[in-house]
């Protein structure tokens, strides 16, 4: 609980409508996009300018009160989950597009600006902002930077870290940090990369300068059906080996295809085990060449059916099924739990086989949606939270999937972040000295651990406790640590 003295100090810093402390006002902030994790915040502040952000941080620093920064709250890893005794710092009122420079191809925006709003504002100049997380109509750019968000076009256009130039951010002391520059690099350490994906643990972002790209002249998508998931997986590697870098390369398995088709009637073939959507973009002539190459490779890779979208309307329909995959799968069960592991693509058949075995073992169905081009797997575990024990079962199954991803040389999170959700699996991916170094990176910015404490990087004792539950082959993961 926060002290009444602290709350009154906080209220002196902000206009009355910018401080929420009544329970009914706080309820909407109890979770982010991962609604299985809930905690009503003690207080919510909604600053309207940088000076207010700085003042809030100064006060929290002086009083040693923790701060959880939050944008649109669409994150999927409980990274913006309120913490007891902390201030929830919501940046949604900082929502101005401050500048678009069409010649330099940049947009300077406040953190609460929605991802899609940037592309909409840039469209008049034939430009757009490339990273397109599926939540792009709602998620905000500050959160995108905090999570290093991706989307379906990462293989060709990169993640957030590849598409930003400069940040204004405030340290927990209230001191302004200007990170990056208006050019392509900056002096000193790459703090821009360090900030990107730091999950609100290092500083609070108040302004982002993003790169804008020219809109491709043309985009075209090919749909291919396979009677075997392994063949579809091999086709992905073959397309890349043929020298084509698709703008988007997505895979769905049987359950995901059926769910999507039933939901949006995209016209997907239903008698197949896997579907690939391969989009190429660029200048007109290049797209024609690439489509030809892609079709040849897909045929040689054993596709049972290949269709090329012949119109923009058809292209959008092909994509509609994939883009609606999550809600479509959501119709199959009361709840679903989305995982975010990334694997080397060659491991796909093995990983899908193991997921299917684990699914049978625990009795929960899984639909697989896959950013195939960059190896990012989104298994959707179906469950019913109203059935006692099922949420726990789903979480435990999900955890095992992530550990499998690490075991085959991948990572526990490709684009959603660690947050609170995957914090135990961090112990599987990193050794103790590496986790220590992460804590020290945080300490370099925030020595009193006031920014989003307890998220993203596990405490070592947490790993010890978690490790004790995961003893395999009689070997403890961290024998050097004391056990509790």
């Amino acid at each position: 609980m926060l002290s009444p003295v602290f709350l009154s100090q906080l209220r002196r810093l902000l206009p009355p409508h910018s401080v929420l402390f009544e329970r009914e006002d706080l309820m909407p902030f109890e979770s982010d996009g991962l609604s299985a994790y809930r905690n009503v915040p003690d207080v919510v502040v909604l600053p309207e300018n940088e000076a207010q952000v700085a003042a809030i941080l100064q006060l929290c620093h002086a009083e040693k009160v923790a701060v959880v920064a939050r944008g649109a709250g669409t994150g999927l890893a409980a990274g913006a989950l309120p913490i007891d005794g902390a201030v929830l710092l919501v940046l949604s009122k900082l929502n101005q597009i401050k500048d678009i420079d069409p010649l330099a191809r940049t947009a300077t925006v406040q953190p609460g600006v929605r991802n899609l709003a940037i592309s909409e504002a840039a469209a008049a100049h034939g430009l757009y902002y490339a990273p397109d997380p599926s939540s792009q109509i709602a998620c905000s750019i500050g959160g995108n930077v905090a999570e290093n968000s991706g989307g379906v076009h990462c293989l060709k256009y990169g993640l957030t870290v590849h598409n930003i130039l400069k940040l204004r951010a405030f340290a927990i002391t209230g001191e302004l940090l200007e990170i990056g520059s208006d050019t392509l690099d900056a002096a000193g350490y790459d703090l821009l990369a360090l900030m990107t994906g730091s999950e609100g643990m290092l500083a609070v972002i108040t302004e982002v300068t993003v790169k804008l790209l020219p809109r491709p002249q043309r985009a075209q998508v090919v749909l291919a059906a396979f009677d075997d998931v392994a063949k579809a997986g091999a086709a992905v590697g073959n397309i890349i080996a043929a020298g084509v870098i698709p703008a988007g390369l997505e895979m769905m398995d049987r359950l995901a295809i059926q769910a999507a088709e039933a939901f949006v009637h995209a016209g997907y073939p239903l008698d197949c085990e896997a579907l690939l959507l391969c989009e190429v973009d660029g200048v007109n002539e290049e797209v024609s060449d690439d489509i030809f190459t892609v079709r040849e490779v897909l045929t040689a890779s054993g596709a049972t059916e290949i269709r090329t979208a012949e119109s923009e309307e058809q292209r959008l329909r092909f994509w509609a099924g994939r883009k609606a995959a999550f809600p479509a799968v959501g119709r199959l069960a009361p709840d679903y739990y989305c995982m975010d592991g990334t694997i080397p693509r060659a491991q796909l058949p093995h990983v899908l086989q193991r997921i299917s075995e684990m699914s049978a073992e625990c009795g929960l169905a899984v639909a697989n949606v896959f950013h195939a081009g960059d190896g990012n797997l989104h298994p959707l575990i179906l469950f019913d939270a109203n059935q006692p024990g099922e949420l726990h079962k789903a979480e435990s199954f999900g955890g095992k999937i992530l550990e499998l991803c690490v075991a085959v040389g991948g990572t526990i999170t490709g684009e959603h972040g660690v947050g609170l959700e995957k914090i135990n699996q961090m112990c599987a991916q990193f050794s103790t000295p590496e986790l220590v170094r992460f804590h020290e990176v945080k300490a370099a910015f925030d020595p009193h651990r006031l920014l989003n404490p307890g998220k993203a990087v596990p405490e070592l004792h947490r790993c010890a406790e978690w490790g004790a539950m995961h003893i395999s082959g009689g070997q403890l993961p961290h024998p050097e640590l004391p056990r509790f």
Binding site: D101, L103, A104, R105, G126, L127, N148, C154, L155, G158, V161, H162, L177, E178, D182, T183, L184, D185, A186, A187, G188, Y189, D190, L191, A193, G197, S198, P214, R215, Q217, G237, I240, A241, G243, I245, G282, V283, E285, D289, D290, T342, P344, R345, D374, G375, G409, G410, T411, T413, H416, V418, Q429, F430, P433, E434, F438, K442, A444, F445, V457
Partner: protein
């Protein structure tokens, strides 16, 4: 093989005796002067893994860029950031530690954009691994990219995983006679169009533009842009990448003329800082041969949204890199302190006081 390095760094950490990390020695001119015992990385050599279909290559730090590029070329792939070799036996470790990229950088990305993971030994002798071999990975802070351009001050890089890309099927170079202001404007206008640009350069009234991509795309862009085709253009871009033209040569010490790199907002109008300039990266980099004082050039670059580096010449008191704001300098010192508490790795190479 690694243990000899961890032991060496542990001992140096214990004694507080500085080490100077050296790969192929192609970039010894770059950065501030450092001193200490040389820790050579060439024995840490070899490609560990290369999966063309995964677009990922992993190699030990002492592997030469030439060896890596030859291996990639066999599969029609490349390092898309076009790293400079500077005429020497440049290694992968040095390439990543220096963070320097070549002519393709504004259109394809920098070395930092292609680093997927690193293995390092920190300043206490502790081996650590960050990132991995997959293209998307947001678990933990991005320490891999923090190593890029840190000039070895945060750890000895022992292994790097990189994303690689297919080589373009076709390449053409066009030239246009244009004055500086018009060239800067054209570079920026072109970059806002869907054109297969892969490099731009302006020097002495001549704008040179490289197009790379599918044959049809390059042909279409060429028809649209006009200009004169520069035949046999590869050596031109190679010389620019490696600074192997007289413009970039070190001037006699007596002349006080030094080679500066000013990174600025790409639309910055012509800098009134003398005639000896070479523009690259779509206007974002202005190479300058100048005898102006360091403070003036740091201020000029900062005023244009960027930063200046004394690339080749005698280090001024401020150091060769643009001074940091006090807030950022504190963060740099804090990070250095955490990764290398006794300051033994490349002490002073990045900033004179750490």
């Amino acid at each position: 093989m690694l243990s000899e390095f961890t032991e060496r760094i542990r001992a140096a950490h214990a004694n507080g005796s500085p080490l100077v990390i050296q790969g192929g020695g192609s970039k010894t001119f770059y950065g501030n002067p450092d001193e200490g015992e040389v820790l050579g990385t060439r024995t840490l050599s070899g490609v560990v893994d290369y999966q063309p279909k995964e677009l990922v290559l992993t190699a030990r730090a002492g592997t030469s860029l030439a060896e890596i590029e030859a291996l990639l070329a066999e599969q029609n792939q490349m390092l898309a950031f076009e790293p400079p070799h500077f005429g020497g036996a440049a290694t992968l470790g040095g390439c990543v530690a220096s963070g320097l990229s070549g002519p393709r950088r504004p259109y394809a990305g920098a070395v930092r954009d292609f680093v997927l993971g690193v293995r390092i030994i920190d300043g206490t002798g502790q081996p650590l691994r960050f990132g991995g071999q997959v293209i998307k990975n947001v678990a933990g802070y991005d320490v891999s990219r923090l190593m890029v351009g840190a000039l070895g001050t945060l750890g000895l890089i022992t292994e790097v995983s990189l994303k690689v890309l297919p080589q373009p099927a076709a390449e053409t170079t066009l030239q246009f006679e244009l004055d500086e202001a018009a060239a800067i404007e054209k570079m920026n206008r072109m970059a806002g169009q869907p054109l297969p640009l892969s490099a731009t350069s302006w020097h002495a009234g001549l704008l040179t533009v490289r197009l790379s991509g599918a044959t049809s795309a390059v042909q279409a862009a060429q028809a649209r842009l006009g200009g004169e085709v520069l035949k046999d253009a590869a050596p031109f871009w190679l010389r620019l990448r490696d600074h192997a033209t007289p413009f970039f040569e070190v001037r006699p010490a007596a002349s006080n003329q030094q080679l500066w790199r000013l990174a600025v907002k790409p639309t910055t109008p012509p800098l009134k800082l003398g005639d000896a300039q070479w523009i690259e990266w779509g206007g974002a980099v202005r190479w300058l041969v100048s005898d102006l004082p360091a403070a003036a050039l740091f201020a000029a670059a900062t005023g244009c949204g960027g930063h200046a580096t004394l690339f080749r010449g005698k280090a001024p008191a401020e150091g060769v890199f643009n001074p940091l704001t006090p807030a950022l300098l504190t963060l740099h010192r804090n990070l250095k302190q955490r990764f290398d508490p006794r300051g033994i790795l490349n002490r002073g190479r990045l900033y004179p006081d750490f």
